[in-house]
């Protein structure tokens, strides 16, 4: 079977600081992050001939090319569904471009002022439009606006069906915060959190507490993708894309109201071919990255990607399994969307690359394979990265 497996690698990573107010434009953030990633690869802008972006990113590829000094773009593309399609979908698209020879080296990026609102509206706030139409007209008139409120509906259902409790969701938040406290770049560095803190945090949308919800962040993050052949001459040992995919399905008819009982989910659509293409199983994964917009959805992703059975997530996430260094499957080792910075999942890609280069702060010993899942409950994307030589 033909797939993208092992036909492309990530050779450079770069990001700005993650903050509540960057004080500069989204274009500036994008050019800084991309410029840093290109330099990290040992390349210069003239070597880059492709850009992939999240559809919802406000930056125009041509503006980026002009400002960075990228003279010729032979490939540009964008991936829909925000933090679902974007984080790994932009990398899949870039990988396909270089693997087919349509481009030589492509950057995938995300840059936004989501917290300060300098260009991007805050996702946790309701728009104050007087009217709505289409799918929103069946939700907003009832005061159902934010992703957190929608996820609360799915979380309560999961709790009812499987006996999951809020404290089990809390294990995920605590693991991410644990890692952020070893990462001076993390927005929540120096702010330890316990399960008791999680339980005491204010209710955002019952049963979701504040500490079940991701940060809001200004910043930029980027990675550079090229072929294994070209990667040999570059600065770092390449990190291979062992497999990658996009997944969606008809059950998302209200876009984000997740049907917990659905026999198939966006995650299960991808899972089989992702592991098949990479030629490994879930047991081979050394370090786990799951897009942590809301802790209940992380648990559902862990279940639906087959790390445990559906309904077993509450036990799987316990006993420190997700915490470095002693846990057997550390999760989001730089702190994730919850505690590092909400760079729409791109920050997890960068940390996964560092794990497989062997340069992470919370370095998992002998890490060969990283699994990266983008946001679920919307059409999503995921990938498996492989250490060079593994």
């Amino acid at each position: 079977m033909q797939s993208i497996a092992n036909k492309a690698c990530i050779v450079g990573v770069g990001h700005t600081e993650y903050s509540k107010d960057s004080g500069r434009s989204e274009l500036k953030l994008a050019t800084e992050a991309i410029g840093t990633a290109i330099a990290d690869a040992g390349l210069s802008p003239v070597d880059i001939d492709g850009i992939t972006k999240y559809t919802m990113d406000n930056n125009d590829p041509i503006d980026i090319a002009r400002n960075l000094g990228i003279p010729r773009l032979r490939f540009f593309g964008e991936v829909a569904y925000g933090g679902g399609g974007g984080p790994c979908g932009t990398i899949l698209m870039a990988a396909m471009a270089v693997a087919t020879g349509q481009a030589k080296a492509v950057v995938a990026f995300r840059a936004m002022n989501e917290r300060s609102g300098r260009g991007t509206a805050r996702f946790g706030q309701a728009p104050t439009d007087e009217s709505v139409t289409g799918v929103k007209s069946y939700m907003s008139p009832y005061g159902l606006f934010s992703p957190a409120q929608m996820v609360a509906l799915a979380a309560r259902r999961h709790m009812h069906l499987y006996g999951t409790e809020s404290k089990h969701f809390g294990e995920i938040a605590v693991a991410c915060r644990h890692h952020a406290n070893m990462n001076p770049d993390a927005m929540m560095y120096g702010r330890p959190m316990t399960i008791e803190d999680h339980q005491a945090s204010r209710m955002i949308a019952d049963p979701l507490h504040l500490l079940d919800c991701c940060l809001e962040t200004d910043g930029g993050a980027a990675v550079v993708i090229t072929t294994p052949d070209r990667a040999r001459d570059l600065k770092h040992v390449p990190v291979h894309i062992a497999s990658a995919g996009l997944g969606g399905g008809a059950w998302n008819h209200l876009h984000i109201l997740k049907d917990v009982e659905a026999p198939h989910t966006e995650s299960t659509v991808i899972a089989d071919h992702l592991f098949g293409d990479a030629g490994i199983t879930q047991a081979d994964i050394d370090v786990l990255f799951v897009y942590d917009h809301f802790t209940p959805l992380v648990m559902m992703a862990i279940e639906d990607y087959g790390f445990c059975k559906r309904g077993e997530g509450k036990d799987f996430v316990g006993n420190g399994r997700l915490r470095w260094p002693d846990g057997e499957l550390p999760l989001n080792t730089s702190g994730g969307n919850l505690s590092h910075g909400y760079m729409h999942g791109m920050q997890n890609n960068i940390e996964a690359v560092r794990q497989l280069r062997g340069t992470a702060r919370c370095q998992v010993k002998d890490a060969d394979f990283a699994f990266i899942a983008a946001g679920n409950a919307v059409p999503t994307s995921a990938m498996i990265l492989r250490r060079d030589g593994a």
Partner: protein
């Protein structure tokens, strides 16, 4: 001197029917809950859609529902993120499965339920029976909402 837009501050947004959904909202104004019933496979679908989400046929008839259903899940909103929510919290968003067809679900509000300021809602339970009620939005559009039976 301009006056503040009171409606946008004090009310949640009102629905503007998309093409194909006009009859749903008009029926709500007439205090009837209707959904599209496929002429080919007789399945109901929601939200309004141009073709049957079960079989793909594009012929349908608007069918009136009993308005009876059960609570599949809910959340009590205590933290206002919309200006109109400040005066409304705590309020209850429910997902209701309608009696006519397994899996036929809609989002709405549960009204007149006992809800504490802290979000506690002792009378709301999974699969509790509910019945539709039509509540006017300040725009004049009536919205299908539900009450515990």
């Amino acid at each position: 001197m301009s006056t503040p837009d009171v409606k946008s501050v004090l009310a949640f947004p009102y629905p503007v029917p998309e093409v194909g959904a006009e009859d749903y909202w008009q029926a709500a104004n007439d205090e009837r809950l209707v959904m599209q019933k496929c002429d080919a496979c007789a399945k109901l679908r929601f939200t309004p859609a141009p073709i049957c989400t079960h079989c793909g046929d594009d012929q349908f008839t608007w069918a009136e529902l009993s308005g009876k259903g059960k609570i599949i899940t809910w959340t009590v909103i205590t933290h206002p993120i919309h200006p109109a929510a400040v005066a409304k919290v705590p309020y209850v968003v429910v997902v209701v499965e309608l009696d006519e067809q397994p899996g036929l679900r809609m989002v709405s509000n549960l009204i007149d339920a006992e809800v504490g300021e802290d979000g506690s809602a002792p009378t709301i339970t999974f699969y509790a029976a509910v019945s539709v009620a039509f509540e006017p939005h300040p725009s004049g559009q009536k919205l299908p909402m539900f009450r515990l039976v």
